[in-house]
Symmetry: C2
Subunit: 204 residues, 2 copies
Protein backbone atom coordinates (compact mmCIF):
# COMPACT_ATOMS: atom_id res chain seq x y z
CA UNK A 1 0.00 0.00 0.00
CA UNK A 2 2.86 2.29 0.79
CA UNK A 3 4.45 1.34 -2.50
CA UNK A 4 1.23 2.11 -4.32
CA UNK A 5 1.00 5.59 -2.89
CA UNK A 6 4.57 6.29 -3.90
CA UNK A 7 3.52 6.39 -7.55
CA UNK A 8 1.75 9.66 -6.81
CA UNK A 9 4.99 11.40 -6.02
CA UNK A 10 6.83 13.03 -8.84
CA UNK A 11 10.44 13.94 -8.32
CA UNK A 12 11.82 17.21 -9.49
CA UNK A 13 15.46 17.66 -10.17
CA UNK A 14 14.95 21.37 -9.79
CA UNK A 15 13.61 23.75 -7.22
CA UNK A 16 10.04 24.91 -7.71
CA UNK A 17 10.39 28.25 -9.45
CA UNK A 18 8.72 31.55 -8.94
CA UNK A 19 7.12 31.17 -12.38
CA UNK A 20 5.64 27.79 -11.43
CA UNK A 21 4.21 29.21 -8.23
CA UNK A 22 2.61 32.14 -10.04
CA UNK A 23 1.17 29.78 -12.69
CA UNK A 24 -0.28 27.63 -9.91
CA UNK A 25 -1.89 30.65 -8.25
CA UNK A 26 -3.23 32.27 -11.42
CA UNK A 27 -1.88 35.72 -10.64
CA UNK A 28 1.40 37.46 -10.01
CA UNK A 29 3.06 38.06 -6.68
CA UNK A 30 2.80 41.65 -5.52
CA UNK A 31 3.04 43.93 -2.54
CA UNK A 32 0.17 46.33 -1.84
CA UNK A 33 1.68 48.79 0.58
CA UNK A 34 -0.94 50.87 2.42
CA UNK A 35 0.53 53.94 4.11
CA UNK A 36 -1.02 56.84 6.02
CA UNK A 37 -1.78 58.28 9.43
CA UNK A 38 -3.10 56.24 12.32
CA UNK A 39 -6.85 56.12 11.90
CA UNK A 40 -6.71 56.78 8.15
CA UNK A 41 -8.24 53.37 7.48
CA UNK A 42 -5.26 51.39 6.20
CA UNK A 43 -6.13 48.10 7.89
CA UNK A 44 -9.82 48.48 7.10
CA UNK A 45 -9.07 49.05 3.44
CA UNK A 46 -6.41 46.31 3.28
CA UNK A 47 -8.86 43.81 4.77
CA UNK A 48 -11.64 44.88 2.40
CA UNK A 49 -9.31 44.47 -0.58
CA UNK A 50 -8.19 41.08 0.74
CA UNK A 51 -11.83 40.01 1.04
CA UNK A 52 -12.45 40.95 -2.59
CA UNK A 53 -9.29 39.17 -3.73
CA UNK A 54 -10.22 36.06 -1.73
CA UNK A 55 -13.60 35.93 -3.48
CA UNK A 56 -11.75 35.85 -6.77
CA UNK A 57 -9.61 32.95 -5.61
CA UNK A 58 -6.45 34.99 -5.14
CA UNK A 59 -3.83 33.94 -2.62
CA UNK A 60 -3.29 36.79 -0.19
CA UNK A 61 -1.96 37.66 3.22
CA UNK A 62 -2.27 40.81 5.31
CA UNK A 63 0.69 41.92 7.41
CA UNK A 64 -0.30 44.42 10.06
CA UNK A 65 0.49 45.42 13.61
CA UNK A 66 -1.50 42.50 15.01
CA UNK A 67 0.61 39.77 13.48
CA UNK A 68 3.99 41.54 13.21
CA UNK A 69 4.47 43.86 16.17
CA UNK A 70 3.85 41.10 18.70
CA UNK A 71 5.90 38.53 16.82
CA UNK A 72 8.69 39.20 14.36
CA UNK A 73 9.20 42.81 15.51
CA UNK A 74 8.43 42.52 19.19
CA UNK A 75 11.99 43.59 19.99
CA UNK A 76 11.48 47.00 18.31
CA UNK A 77 10.20 50.28 19.71
CA UNK A 78 9.24 53.55 18.06
CA UNK A 79 12.53 55.44 17.76
CA UNK A 80 13.46 56.48 14.21
CA UNK A 81 16.01 53.60 14.06
CA UNK A 82 13.50 51.05 15.28
CA UNK A 83 10.80 52.37 12.93
CA UNK A 84 13.28 51.98 10.10
CA UNK A 85 14.15 48.40 11.11
CA UNK A 86 10.44 47.66 11.59
CA UNK A 87 9.70 48.67 8.01
CA UNK A 88 12.80 46.95 6.65
CA UNK A 89 11.78 43.60 8.14
CA UNK A 90 8.16 44.00 7.07
CA UNK A 91 9.39 44.82 3.56
CA UNK A 92 11.60 41.72 3.50
CA UNK A 93 8.74 39.50 4.70
CA UNK A 94 6.29 41.02 2.21
CA UNK A 95 8.92 40.37 -0.44
CA UNK A 96 9.13 36.69 0.60
CA UNK A 97 5.35 36.41 0.34
CA UNK A 98 5.41 38.01 -3.12
CA UNK A 99 8.23 35.66 -4.11
CA UNK A 100 5.97 32.82 -2.97
CA UNK A 101 3.44 34.12 -5.51
CA UNK A 102 1.03 35.69 -3.05
CA UNK A 103 -0.37 39.19 -2.97
CA UNK A 104 0.94 40.62 0.31
CA UNK A 105 -1.02 43.54 1.77
CA UNK A 106 0.74 45.61 4.42
CA UNK A 107 -0.96 48.14 6.68
CA UNK A 108 1.57 50.24 8.60
CA UNK A 109 1.88 54.00 9.07
CA UNK A 110 5.39 53.78 7.51
CA UNK A 111 5.85 57.55 7.79
CA UNK A 112 9.20 57.98 6.04
CA UNK A 113 9.69 58.33 2.29
CA UNK A 114 13.15 56.75 2.48
CA UNK A 115 11.87 53.61 4.23
CA UNK A 116 9.11 53.08 1.69
CA UNK A 117 11.59 53.63 -1.12
CA UNK A 118 13.87 51.02 0.46
CA UNK A 119 11.05 48.47 0.25
CA UNK A 120 10.22 49.52 -3.31
CA UNK A 121 13.86 49.01 -4.25
CA UNK A 122 13.77 45.44 -2.89
CA UNK A 123 11.11 44.62 -5.48
CA UNK A 124 13.07 43.92 -8.63
CA UNK A 125 10.71 41.13 -9.71
CA UNK A 126 7.60 41.86 -7.64
CA UNK A 127 5.14 44.60 -8.30
CA UNK A 128 5.19 47.21 -5.53
CA UNK A 129 1.98 49.21 -5.28
CA UNK A 130 2.14 52.12 -2.85
CA UNK A 131 -1.35 53.12 -1.77
CA UNK A 132 -1.57 56.37 0.10
CA UNK A 133 -4.56 56.39 2.43
CA UNK A 134 -5.05 60.13 2.52
CA UNK A 135 -7.13 61.43 5.39
CA UNK A 136 -6.85 64.72 7.24
CA UNK A 137 -5.37 64.71 10.70
CA UNK A 138 -8.62 66.26 11.95
CA UNK A 139 -10.68 63.31 10.71
CA UNK A 140 -8.15 60.75 11.98
CA UNK A 141 -8.15 62.41 15.36
CA UNK A 142 -11.94 62.51 15.46
CA UNK A 143 -12.09 58.79 14.62
CA UNK A 144 -9.28 57.88 17.04
CA UNK A 145 -10.35 54.21 17.04
CA UNK A 146 -7.74 53.13 19.58
CA UNK A 147 -7.72 56.32 21.68
CA UNK A 148 -4.09 56.92 20.69
CA UNK A 149 -4.45 60.54 19.58
CA UNK A 150 -6.00 61.39 22.91
CA UNK A 151 -3.03 59.86 24.69
CA UNK A 152 -0.57 61.58 22.36
CA UNK A 153 -2.23 64.98 22.95
CA UNK A 154 -2.02 64.31 26.68
CA UNK A 155 1.68 63.54 26.31
CA UNK A 156 1.23 59.93 27.39
CA UNK A 157 2.58 58.68 24.05
CA UNK A 158 5.67 60.32 22.61
CA UNK A 159 6.76 60.49 18.98
CA UNK A 160 3.25 59.88 17.69
CA UNK A 161 2.98 60.34 13.92
CA UNK A 162 1.04 63.47 13.02
CA UNK A 163 1.37 64.95 16.52
CA UNK A 164 5.04 65.07 17.48
CA UNK A 165 6.56 62.88 14.78
CA UNK A 166 6.40 63.56 11.05
CA UNK A 167 4.42 61.83 8.32
CA UNK A 168 6.12 62.29 4.97
CA UNK A 169 3.55 62.14 2.18
CA UNK A 170 4.36 59.85 -0.75
CA UNK A 171 5.55 62.01 -3.66
CA UNK A 172 4.49 59.51 -6.33
CA UNK A 173 2.28 56.75 -4.96
CA UNK A 174 0.66 54.36 -7.42
CA UNK A 175 -2.68 55.26 -5.87
CA UNK A 176 -4.01 57.92 -3.54
CA UNK A 177 -7.30 57.05 -1.90
CA UNK A 178 -9.25 59.71 -0.06
CA UNK A 179 -10.07 57.46 2.86
CA UNK A 180 -11.43 60.35 4.89
CA UNK A 181 -14.28 60.98 2.49
CA UNK A 182 -14.67 57.80 0.41
CA UNK A 183 -16.53 54.69 1.56
CA UNK A 184 -14.56 51.49 2.16
CA UNK A 185 -16.42 49.83 -0.71
CA UNK A 186 -15.55 52.59 -3.18
CA UNK A 187 -11.97 52.72 -1.96
CA UNK A 188 -11.47 48.98 -2.33
CA UNK A 189 -13.03 49.07 -5.80
CA UNK A 190 -10.45 51.67 -6.81
CA UNK A 191 -7.66 49.36 -5.70
CA UNK A 192 -9.09 46.31 -7.48
CA UNK A 193 -9.57 48.30 -10.70
CA UNK A 194 -5.95 49.39 -10.53
CA UNK A 195 -4.73 45.80 -10.11
CA UNK A 196 -6.79 44.77 -13.13
CA UNK A 197 -5.58 47.66 -15.29
CA UNK A 198 -1.98 46.85 -14.41
CA UNK A 199 -2.37 43.15 -15.18
CA UNK A 200 -1.54 42.10 -11.62
CA UNK A 201 -4.98 40.51 -11.52
CA UNK A 202 -6.50 38.82 -14.55
CA UNK A 203 -9.62 40.64 -15.76
CA UNK A 204 -12.67 39.13 -14.02
Amino acid sequence: MTGQKATNITWHDHTVTREERCAQRGHKGAILWFTGLSGAGKSTLANAVEGALYERGCQTYVLDGDNVRHGLNKDLGFSPEDRHENIRRIGEVAHLFADAGLIALTAFISPYVADRRMVRDMCTEDRFVEIYCHCSLAICERRDPKGLYKKARAGEIKEFTGIDAPYEEPPQPELTIETGTTSVKESATEVIRYLEREGILPAP
Copy 2:
Protein backbone atom coordinates in the same frame (compact mmCIF):
# COMPACT_ATOMS: atom_id res chain seq x y z
CA MET B 1 -17.91 48.90 -18.20
CA THR B 2 -16.40 49.83 -14.88
CA GLY B 3 -19.82 49.52 -13.30
CA GLN B 4 -20.28 46.08 -14.81
CA LYS B 5 -17.01 44.79 -13.38
CA ALA B 6 -17.98 46.03 -9.94
CA THR B 7 -20.63 43.34 -9.68
CA ASN B 8 -17.86 40.77 -9.44
CA ILE B 9 -16.64 42.19 -6.18
CA THR B 10 -18.14 40.82 -3.01
CA TRP B 11 -17.68 42.79 0.16
CA HIS B 12 -16.86 41.07 3.38
CA ASP B 13 -17.64 42.61 6.68
CA HIS B 14 -15.04 40.35 8.23
CA THR B 15 -11.40 39.61 7.77
CA VAL B 16 -10.53 36.53 5.73
CA THR B 17 -9.94 33.85 8.34
CA ARG B 18 -7.31 31.22 8.71
CA GLU B 19 -9.99 28.57 8.18
CA GLU B 20 -11.07 30.16 4.89
CA ARG B 21 -7.49 30.27 3.67
CA CYS B 22 -6.92 26.60 4.53
CA ALA B 23 -10.19 25.63 2.82
CA GLN B 24 -9.09 27.55 -0.27
CA ARG B 25 -5.75 25.75 -0.32
CA GLY B 26 -7.06 22.27 0.40
CA HIS B 27 -4.58 21.53 3.17
CA LYS B 28 -3.53 22.86 6.53
CA GLY B 29 -0.80 25.34 7.24
CA ALA B 30 2.30 23.76 8.70
CA ILE B 31 5.98 24.24 9.34
CA LEU B 32 8.39 21.53 8.22
CA TRP B 33 11.54 22.35 10.11
CA PHE B 34 14.62 20.58 8.69
CA THR B 35 17.58 20.62 11.07
CA GLY B 36 21.04 19.07 10.92
CA LEU B 37 24.70 19.67 10.19
CA SER B 38 25.95 21.64 7.22
CA GLY B 39 26.08 19.22 4.31
CA ALA B 40 23.51 16.84 5.84
CA GLY B 41 21.16 17.53 2.93
CA LYS B 42 18.54 19.76 4.54
CA SER B 43 18.03 22.06 1.54
CA THR B 44 18.16 19.19 -0.92
CA LEU B 45 15.50 17.29 1.02
CA ALA B 46 13.36 20.38 1.62
CA ASN B 47 13.39 21.17 -2.09
CA ALA B 48 12.57 17.56 -3.03
CA VAL B 49 9.64 17.57 -0.60
CA GLU B 50 8.49 20.92 -1.97
CA GLY B 51 8.61 19.51 -5.51
CA ALA B 52 6.41 16.59 -4.47
CA LEU B 53 3.99 18.89 -2.65
CA TYR B 54 3.84 21.22 -5.65
CA GLU B 55 2.88 18.30 -7.90
CA ARG B 56 -0.03 17.64 -5.57
CA GLY B 57 -1.17 21.24 -5.82
CA CYS B 58 -0.04 22.24 -2.34
CA GLN B 59 0.93 25.80 -1.55
CA THR B 60 4.46 25.83 -0.25
CA TYR B 61 7.47 28.02 0.33
CA VAL B 62 11.05 27.16 1.26
CA LEU B 63 12.93 29.46 3.61
CA ASP B 64 16.67 28.91 3.48
CA GLY B 65 19.93 30.78 3.68
CA ASP B 66 19.57 32.02 0.12
CA ASN B 67 16.41 34.01 0.69
CA VAL B 68 16.78 34.88 4.38
CA ARG B 69 20.43 35.46 5.23
CA HIS B 70 20.85 38.09 2.50
CA GLY B 71 17.54 39.77 3.21
CA LEU B 72 15.61 39.70 6.46
CA ASN B 73 18.59 38.56 8.53
CA LYS B 74 21.43 40.28 6.74
CA ASP B 75 22.19 42.25 9.91
CA LEU B 76 22.98 39.06 11.86
CA GLY B 77 26.25 37.16 12.27
CA PHE B 78 27.05 33.77 13.79
CA SER B 79 27.49 34.50 17.50
CA PRO B 80 25.17 32.51 19.79
CA GLU B 81 22.98 35.63 20.25
CA ASP B 82 22.75 36.26 16.52
CA ARG B 83 22.08 32.58 15.78
CA HIS B 84 19.26 32.74 18.31
CA GLU B 85 17.79 35.89 16.73
CA ASN B 86 18.25 34.34 13.27
CA ILE B 87 16.16 31.33 14.25
CA ARG B 88 13.60 33.46 16.12
CA ARG B 89 12.91 35.59 13.05
CA ILE B 90 12.82 32.58 10.73
CA GLY B 91 10.38 30.92 13.11
CA GLU B 92 8.16 34.01 13.15
CA VAL B 93 8.18 34.22 9.35
CA ALA B 94 7.49 30.49 8.95
CA HIS B 95 4.64 30.99 11.40
CA LEU B 96 3.21 33.82 9.25
CA PHE B 97 3.39 31.55 6.18
CA ALA B 98 1.63 28.75 8.07
CA ASP B 99 -0.96 31.25 9.27
CA ALA B 100 -1.44 32.17 5.60
CA GLY B 101 -2.31 28.49 5.05
CA LEU B 102 0.93 27.49 3.34
CA ILE B 103 3.29 24.68 4.15
CA ALA B 104 6.54 26.45 5.06
CA LEU B 105 9.72 24.39 4.74
CA THR B 106 12.79 25.72 6.54
CA ALA B 107 16.34 24.48 5.97
CA PHE B 108 18.73 25.87 8.59
CA ILE B 109 21.31 24.15 10.77
CA SER B 110 19.46 25.52 13.84
CA PRO B 111 21.87 23.79 16.22
CA TYR B 112 20.26 24.59 19.58
CA VAL B 113 17.45 22.62 21.19
CA ALA B 114 16.16 25.73 22.98
CA ASP B 115 15.83 27.72 19.76
CA ARG B 116 13.92 24.96 18.00
CA ARG B 117 11.68 24.59 21.03
CA MET B 118 11.02 28.35 20.93
CA VAL B 119 9.72 27.98 17.36
CA ARG B 120 7.67 24.93 18.28
CA ASP B 121 6.11 26.90 21.12
CA MET B 122 5.03 29.63 18.68
CA CYS B 123 2.90 27.07 16.88
CA THR B 124 -0.27 26.93 18.89
CA GLU B 125 -2.45 26.53 15.81
CA ASP B 126 0.05 25.37 13.19
CA ARG B 127 1.55 21.94 12.94
CA PHE B 128 5.27 21.99 13.68
CA VAL B 129 7.15 19.05 12.21
CA GLU B 130 10.78 18.80 13.27
CA ILE B 131 12.73 16.72 10.77
CA TYR B 132 16.19 15.74 11.90
CA CYS B 133 18.46 15.22 8.91
CA HIS B 134 20.85 12.81 10.57
CA CYS B 135 24.19 12.41 8.86
CA SER B 136 27.58 11.68 10.39
CA LEU B 137 30.08 14.50 10.59
CA ALA B 138 32.47 12.32 8.55
CA ILE B 139 30.02 12.10 5.64
CA CYS B 140 29.11 15.81 5.86
CA GLU B 141 32.77 16.71 5.84
CA ARG B 142 33.47 14.42 2.90
CA ARG B 143 30.60 16.01 0.94
CA ASP B 144 31.55 19.57 1.97
CA PRO B 145 29.50 21.04 -0.91
CA LYS B 146 30.47 24.63 -0.16
CA GLY B 147 34.03 23.96 1.04
CA LEU B 148 33.08 25.25 4.48
CA TYR B 149 34.43 22.34 6.53
CA LYS B 150 37.78 22.75 4.86
CA LYS B 151 37.84 26.41 5.85
CA ALA B 152 36.67 25.61 9.38
CA ARG B 153 39.42 22.98 9.80
CA ALA B 154 41.92 25.54 8.55
CA GLY B 155 40.65 28.01 11.13
CA GLU B 156 39.39 30.42 8.47
CA ILE B 157 35.81 30.10 9.76
CA LYS B 158 35.21 30.25 13.50
CA GLU B 159 32.28 28.81 15.44
CA PHE B 160 31.41 26.33 12.72
CA THR B 161 28.78 23.82 13.82
CA GLY B 162 30.23 20.36 14.28
CA ILE B 163 33.83 21.62 14.39
CA ASP B 164 34.12 24.29 17.06
CA ALA B 165 30.45 25.00 17.78
CA PRO B 166 27.95 22.46 19.09
CA TYR B 167 25.05 20.76 17.33
CA GLU B 168 22.45 19.66 19.84
CA GLU B 169 20.54 16.66 18.52
CA PRO B 170 16.74 16.84 18.70
CA PRO B 171 15.58 14.70 21.64
CA GLN B 172 12.14 14.06 20.16
CA PRO B 173 11.88 15.05 16.52
CA GLU B 174 8.73 14.10 14.62
CA LEU B 175 10.99 12.41 12.06
CA THR B 176 14.61 11.37 11.85
CA ILE B 177 15.86 10.79 8.32
CA GLU B 178 19.19 9.09 7.76
CA THR B 179 20.24 11.51 5.06
CA GLY B 180 23.77 10.15 5.03
CA THR B 181 22.68 6.74 3.79
CA THR B 182 19.20 7.20 2.31
CA SER B 183 18.50 8.51 -1.18
CA VAL B 184 16.77 11.85 -1.57
CA LYS B 185 13.80 10.12 -3.16
CA GLU B 186 13.38 7.68 -0.27
CA SER B 187 13.89 10.44 2.28
CA ALA B 188 11.28 12.69 0.70
CA THR B 189 8.84 9.78 0.49
CA GLU B 190 9.22 9.28 4.24
CA VAL B 191 8.30 12.91 4.83
CA ILE B 192 5.29 12.83 2.52
CA ARG B 193 4.02 9.61 4.15
CA TYR B 194 4.29 11.26 7.54
CA LEU B 195 2.28 14.28 6.39
CA GLU B 196 -0.42 11.96 5.03
CA ARG B 197 -0.54 9.86 8.18
CA GLU B 198 -0.87 12.96 10.32
CA GLY B 199 -3.63 14.44 8.16
CA ILE B 200 -1.59 17.51 7.26
CA LEU B 201 -1.94 16.41 3.64
CA PRO B 202 -5.12 14.80 2.36
CA ALA B 203 -4.53 11.20 1.26
CA PRO B 204 -3.61 11.18 -2.45
